[in-house]
C-alpha cells in the first residue's frame, strides 16, 4: 500500500535556528498539507498546497513558515527561526482530491526546540 514518508522522525534544534522538515507524498496525489500537533493537544491545520502554490494557510502559518515542492517528489516545510512554541509533531498529508477525499498522513516529525 502506498504511504507518505517523512524525515527526520525526530529533530532537535536550538531556538532561532532554521529547520526543514521533509515529506514524500504518495506519487499520484496532487494535494498536499502540513498539520501540527502540540503534545496533548488537537491536530491543527497549517497549510495546503496545490499546483505548486499555497492554496490556503492558517493563522499559525506566519512569515516564519514556508513550503516548497523542490522536485517531483519532495514536499518541505521550513521554519526560518524556530521558537520554543514550535515544538510539536508535524504531519504531512496528501490526497488525490479536495474536500471529501481521503487524506493520507505520514508518521510525523517530532520537532523539539530547546
Amino acid at each position: 500500500e502506498p504511504e507518505v514518508t517523512q524525515t527526520p522522525s525526530h529533530q532537535v534544534t536550538q531556538m532561532g535556528q532554521e529547520v526543514i522538515l521533509r515529506c514524500v507524498p504518495i506519487s499520484n496525489h496532487l494535494y498536499f498539507y502540513w498539520y501540527r500537533q502540540i503534545l496533548g493537544q488537537k491536530v491543527e491545520f497549517l497549510v495546503s498546497f496545490y499546483n505548486n502554490e499555497i492554496s490556503e494557510k492558517s493563522e499559525i502559518f506566519d512569515d516564519q513558515f514556508s513550503v516548497e515542492r523542490p522536485d517531483g517528489s519532495n514536499f518541505t516545510l521550513k521554519i526560518r527561526s524556530t521558537k520554543l512554541e514550535d515544538s510539536a509533531m508535524y504531519f504531512c498529508a496528501s490526497s488525490s482530491g479536495t474536500s471529501g477525499s481521503e487524506q493520507y498522513f505520514g508518521p510525523g516529525t517530532r520537532l523539539t526546540v530547546t
Binding site: 491536530v43 496545490y50 482530491g97 474536500s99 510525523g108
Partner: protein, 110 residues
Amino acid sequence: LAKTTQPISMDSYEGQEVNITCSHNNIATNDYITWYQQFPSQGPRFIIQGYKTKVTNEVASLFIPADRKSSTLSLPRVSLSDTAVYYCLGYGGSQGNLIFGKGTKLSVKP
C-alpha cells in the same frame, strides 16, 4: 461540519461493540461526515466516510440519521489494538483541509 461535539473518552472491553456518537448541528448540505483514528505518536488515519444512511467497510460502520445532525461510528468486537483517539471531522477551506476537534479517546481493556 465546522463544529463537532463528541465524548472526550470512552472505555470498553475486548470483544464488545463500541458506538461513538458525534453531533454536528451545523452541517452543510454538501458536507461529508468523516472519521479518522489516531494512535499515540502516529499520524491520523482515515476510517470511514459517509453522506447519509449507513456505510460499512472492513473496519467500521457509520450510521447517519435522516437529518444528518449527528453520526455514529460503530466498531464491532473491539480489541486492545483499537485503543486510540477517534475524530469526527469535516473539511474546511477551498482545498479541504481537515478540521480536528479533541476527538474521543477510546480505551479498550482486556
